[in-house]
Subunit: 355 residues, 2 copies
DNA sequence: AACGCTAATCTAAACGTTTCGAACGTGTCA
DNA sequence: TGACACGTTCGAAACGTTTAGATTAGCGTT
């Protein structure tokens, strides 16, 4: 605590371009030119400037740069829940892709709530993100107007949005569920319970269609009491399953259209004293790391998370690279049914289980 | 494509404060004063300005603001892998906390690589983040100098860093593993395999000590051949487990100090034709949503992710609120052993298994 | 010797805010 | 009536860059 070292230079202004310029005895413009390669600067000055930068420990101020350039090299990414393993994986891929391209990623979780989403998007736009990748939530909100004002490019992820005409990458949800349910039917299942999230988002809507069409294609009736919907959370899956299992003529199989909800399904089956696949078969949407580790190994519809993330990143990077006026592009990827052993063929014995 | 609507106003400069000022027939300083509440402005002008803002659709440019103010209300967060469920959860909590405080979060994944981490941190500092939360990787790097230069506050998460003296929130790893291993010993296990990540990060180091101390406290020898280390990934856990299981006197239990690696452990057990817990007991670090859903229900050490995330956020927010000179604070939280059924008591029959 | 050309460098005006200090009008007091 | 204080409003200088356009020096032409 000497008299000299007082106040701990809180205001230790970081070195600026001006300091570099002075130290190198050149103009500030020359420093900028060298840093950006926008003009040729003589070997001599180059050397002096580089030395000065090293001596001073100069770091270019990206905020000032952003202000002048009108670009932040930062993008915004919003997802409903980062704890959903599908989104976790996709976020990871997207982050890597933008990292490679020299962009930073601002991540927001919207918690399946439209107001939160709007707020987050505003937050991101305030910070002048160059682009937006949105796994949207809800139907209206400010998303539409943002896309229309077209100042920042938007890529929709996983979920389309009615009336919002912009780049998107989604799964062929209808086909994926069609295949999964058809698989169950081939195993001999006739009464197949279906648990969905709220149907105001496109994947849930499309998956439901896939379910209905698979039944119809097999000449089976669609029993409305076998369809339950919840709000994407484990507890919703639990409740939905409880209801399904207490039907007088209960299903022999359950398909859960959402990953977190299937945890609830499994817990409900356990709590009610049944077991999978002996008493009831289960399949669900979205693969996850543990799906083939435990008993039963869960049959799932795996999304190509790597491709989804990369394509979304590419679409946005392409817009950011200047390709602004191309018409909106929609990429539809295919899911893959990962057949494991949580669904069993229905034999004579299983038929009588519901009795 | 009429002659009038050409070029699609790409350069549709967003409305600025100047526009508002003009529309409201006031000076730009008054607009700023009103927006920030830094001076009283008469009801009349207030009304005119607010009207103008609404008419024009003005949004304050946070970049310009940041440049002037020297603060971005953005923090940087780096984690080794976002797909690790522990980090996923913590990230989620942290994101929420900062969201509430009006901060944006830039997320980076360092992929357990020191160079990547340094690069990411530089990226974040370039963008003038106000603070940093780092679940660090490697030992040296620029982290030390950043903390010392002390221009931006840093909070270490989950992992301490030698020689880096700053705020931190970590688990009492040693105690947590001590308890878990002691539990195994009480069940009758004598040869307990231990799978760790590389020991250059503090949690791995501390957990290892916990393991050794538990054995010693019970008067058991520490058999080095039962300790295997890998690089945090599933495959490493798989290989390590394979090695443990092919020992002539193989362990009756395995503790995995890292969550992703336990997936490999379970797969190795399965592939080698054994089953858990009948043939071998398993416990691991980090709880996850599926841990009690399937068979076996995994015994784990659960970290208080909510508390960890919130405390880390609070430490940083406190610094950001101006409390810069307080000495570094280290928060040590307690883990909780979640006893399920992946570890079984050793009876007479089990004793002979290794024969 | 005057001219133009090129290459290298510099000057100064932005970018959209915040903020300090000055200016203004009005009312109070001696 | 002049001095003064007070509450509002404004002008203008920052913040740290980029960049268009001016300036300079060097050099070959005619």
């Amino acid at each position: 605590m000497t008299a000299s070292g007082r106040k701990k230079q809180r205001k230790s202004t970081a070195p600026t371009m001006l300091h570099v310029a002075e130290a190198a005895r050149v103009s500030i413009a020359t420093v900028s030119a060298l840093l950006n390669g926008t003009a040729t600067v003589s070997p001599e000055l180059t050397q002096r400037i580089e030395q000065a930068i090293r001596d001073i420990g100069y770091k270019r101020n990206a905020i000032a740069r952003s202000l002048k350039m009108g670009t932040t090299r930062t993008i915004g990414l919003t997802v409903p829940h980062i704890t959903n393993p599908f989104f976790t994986d996709v976020v990871s891929v997207i982050q890597q892709a933008f990292d490679r391209a020299g962009y930073a990623v601002m991540l927001c979780c919207t918690d399946e709530d439209l107001n939160t989403q709007d707020e987050q998007i505003r937050l991101l736009l305030d910070r002048m993100v160059d682009g937006l990748i949105v796994a949207r939530v809800g139907d209206g909100g400010i998303l539409k107007s943002i896309v229309e004002d077209a100042n920042v490019p938007v890529v929709l992820l996983d979920r389309l949005c009615e009336g919002v005409d912009t780049d998107a990458v989604v799964l062929d949800n209808q086909r994926a569920v069609f295949d999964a349910v058809t698989y169950l039917i081939h195993l001999g299942h006739r009464r197949i319970g279906y648990i969905t999230g709220t149907s105001d988002i496109s994947p849930m809507h499309d998956r439901m269609i896939g379910y209905r069409e698979a039944l119809q294609a097999a000449g089976l009736p669609v029993a409305e009491e076998l369809i339950r919907s919840g709000n994407f959370h484990e507890i919703d899956g639990y409740n939905a399953t409880m209801q399904l299992l207490s039907l007088h003529d209960r299903p022999s199989a359950i398909f859960s259209a959402n990953n977190p909800m299937v945890i609830g399904t499994m817990k409900a089956i356990r709590d009610i004293g049944l077991s999978c696949p002996e008493d009831i078969s289960v399949a669900c949407f979205d693969d996850f790391p543990w799906s083939d580790v435990f008993v039963p190994q869960l049959t799932t519809v795996a999304q190509p998370v790597q491709a989804i993330g990369e394509q979304a990143a590419n679409l946005l990077l392409d817009r950011l690279a200047g390709n602004r006026d191309a018409p909106p592009r929609k990429l539809v990827l295919k899911g893959r049914l990962m057949i494991r052993n949580s669904c069993r063929p229905l034999g004579a014995i299983a038929q009588s289980v519901s009795a």
